[in-house]
Every structure is written in C-alpha cells, then in structure tokens.
Symmetry: C2
Subunit: 194 residues, 2 copies
DNA sequence: TGCAAATGAATGAACGGTCATTCATTTTTG
DNA sequence: CAAAAATGAATGACCGTTCATTCATTTGCA
C-alpha cells in the first residue's frame, strides 16, 4: 500500500469517528482500528494526535474554499455573489454531513480554541481563505446595499442561520431541497439588505 | 454551612470551570477545589458527575425561561413579542457570559447529545420551556405576518444569529450596546417578516 | 541470476499520567 | 456521645505515546 493511502485512511477514519461520536469517541486506538492499522502507525504519518486533528481540519477548510470559488466571480452583482456563497455553503454542508459535524466538533473543542488563538497571532492580514467574505461585506457596506453594521455582526446575521439550518438538516429535523435552500438564502439576504 | 449552600457552591464551581476551560478543564478534583470542598463531597450532593452537569444545565435553561417571561404577554402585538424574546435572549447572554459559555459547551458535548436524545424520547408534547417560541411562530405563520417556512427553519433564522452574535460579543470581537442590540433584533425580524 | 545483508514500515505490549469514583477514617454537629 | 458530614488516599479504567521487535522488501555483491 502506498504511503499516501495509509495517511488518507487515517484522516478518513478520524473524520468518521469524530463526526459520529465526538472527540471522546475517537481515541487513537479506535482511529487506528477503523483505519485497519496498528496504533503505533499513526505516529509514522503524524507527529501526534493534535497534528492529525488539525491537519484534517485545515484540509476541510480548504475544500470548502475551493467549492465556494466555483462559479464565483467578482464581476457578479453584489446580491448574486452573496446568494452564491450562502447557497454554496449550505449545499456543501448538507452533502458532506461528516465534514460538517467534524468542523462543528472541532470549533467547540479545545483544539478549536487553540487553533483560533494561533491563527489570531499568526495572521499578517488577509488569510487567503476568509478573504472572500471580508471583501464581500466591505464592498456591500461601501456601496450602501447592505446595512451599516460591524463586519462581525454582518457575518453572524448571514452565517448564523446557515450553520443552524445545516445542523438541523443533518440531524434530520428538516429536509432541505433546492426550493427551501433558495428561500433560506433569500431570508438571509433580507436580514442584511438595506 | 447549610446543606444547600455547599450544593450551590459546587454548581457555581462547575459553571465557572466548564465555561472558562471546557469539560476537559473541569475534572472532579478541580471542581471540588474551586468549591473549597473535598473530591468525595461531590457525591454527597450529586449521584455522579453526569447528574451534576445535567442539573446545572437544567437550572440555566430555567433561568432563561424566567428572564424571557418578564414583561412578556400574549396580548402584545406579534412583532413586539418577537422583538421582546430576541432582545431578552441577547441581553441575558451578554450579561451572563459564564452561563452562555456553559450552555454552548454542554450543547456540543456528549452530555448535550445524550440530553437531547433523552428529551426526544420523554416528551409527551409541549415541554413547558419551549412553548413560548413554538406558540409564537405558529401564530406568526397563521396570521401571515412571517414567512411560511418550516417551524425549525424559522427558529434557525431567528436564533442562529443571536447565538452567533452573543458568542462574538463574549469573545470580545464586538461590543454590543442597546442601540446595536436593537439593530440586530430588527435585522432578525427582517429575515422572518413577509 | 542467486544469495545475503540492510532497510524501514508496521506492530502492539507496556508506560506514565489523568480521570471518576469509592470507602475507611476523621471531623463536625446537635 | 451518637449520628451525619466531610475527607482524601486508594482504585481501576482509559488515554496518548513510546519503543523493542518483526518481517516484507530492497539493495549490494559474486
């Protein structure tokens, strides 16, 4: 088996266990078993468990970024770009429930706290991935098409409902389809537009 | 020291430790120390740690419920009742950062998962505490003043941003004041209203 | 080509540390 | 002084990580 395969197997095993059972349900022994590998083997591919957890998170962030960029152009009218991002996020989440759950677990764990602290310290300005959103909202405020609220609040108004709706879909409390996604995206827009 | 005092001390210690450091940072030994008590004493007041954690959560849910009921009346116009609840929640959260953080930690931990599962099984209809919201949204849809979306989606649109904004206030990324709270409540209303 | 030596990936038992919980003992209370 | 409350050392379960050992594969040599 090629080196990268086993590495990928370990990442996938971690994704599944953490998504389905949380970090408490994903000890190294279980991750190794799920990957069909011995516990010690983890340490041939990752310096330690923290590194494994964090690398998986980073790769998921990147996959989202790539997905959102598809069909996105700074030439599009503002409202369209906003709706594109909202729809894109929702669709990514509901078609990738394990990834969504992993990200949520990560954010609310000590890993997420440490990660945010480190990113805070290490950010020398635009961090590549968050640029889309920042740029979008800054333009919207400047063009007076959305409410003049602090950037962070605009973020919360737009993405708070998205996360919440995605979670409830994944937990089976609602069934999102194209039509409902469109209505939700429009509702998010309503809360932002002037 | 009266019996209830020591019990209260343990609940308060748990609140503080979990809020500030998460469940990982709140082992029984630390909770006992913070409460000025020996580890074994915990088990004179709570059957085990799970019970302590869950009872604390229930008491916080109840405090929120009581706070929201203050100044609330089913006689008020629909929009006013909605804004009352949104403002009330936001104000409760930002004046009770420890309580907010505890609730978030709880929701995203194995405790929260088990709790929701148990509540699902045990609910014989309206569970007292959630009645306000359910009733509110059902009426709003019936009176055609808010969008005709699934109840759960309305919940998400209204409360997703609230949680998100409260978190960012407590983490110090924004400073909420009366004016900003009002603007946010209005924005939530915009996303719901027809 | 055929054989021996070297390599390094994989293993999993073992280790040190942390945790929730127990219980024999001590302290407080009425 | 008897009963209740509080103590904290001891216990066993579980965790992440290490490392001596195994063994399939590759390399070096005649």
């Amino acid at each position: 088996m090629a080196r990268d395969d086993k590495r990928e197997l370990l990442l996938q095993a971690t994704l599944e266990l953490v998504a389905k059972q949380g970090f408490h349900g994903a000890p190294c022994a279980a991750i190794a078993e799920q990957a069909g590998v011995a516990a010690g083997t983890i340490y041939r591919y990752f310096e330690n468990k923290d590194v494994l957890i964090n690398e998986l998170y980073l790769s998921l962030e990147n996959r989202i970024h790539v997905a959102l960029l598809e069909g996105y152009s700074v030439e599009m009218p503002f409202r369209e770009r906003f709706l594109h991002v909202v729809r894109g996020l929702l669709k990514f989440f509901i078609t990738s429930p394990l990834e969504f759950k992993y990200i949520e677990q990560f954010h609310h764990s000590p890993y997420g706290v440490a990660f945010r602290r480190d990113r805070m310290l290490g950010q020398t300005e635009s961090e590549g991935c968050c640029t889309i959103y920042s740029e979008l909202f800054t333009q919207g405020v400047a063009q007076q098409v959305i409410k003049d609220l602090p950037r962070v609040v605009l973020f919360d108004l737009a993405f708070g409902p998205i996360i919440s709706v995605a979670r409830n879909h994944i937990l089976g409390f609602i069934q999102l389809d194209e039509a409902l996604i469109e209505q939700i995206a429009e509702a998010c827009w309503d809360s932002l537009k002037r």
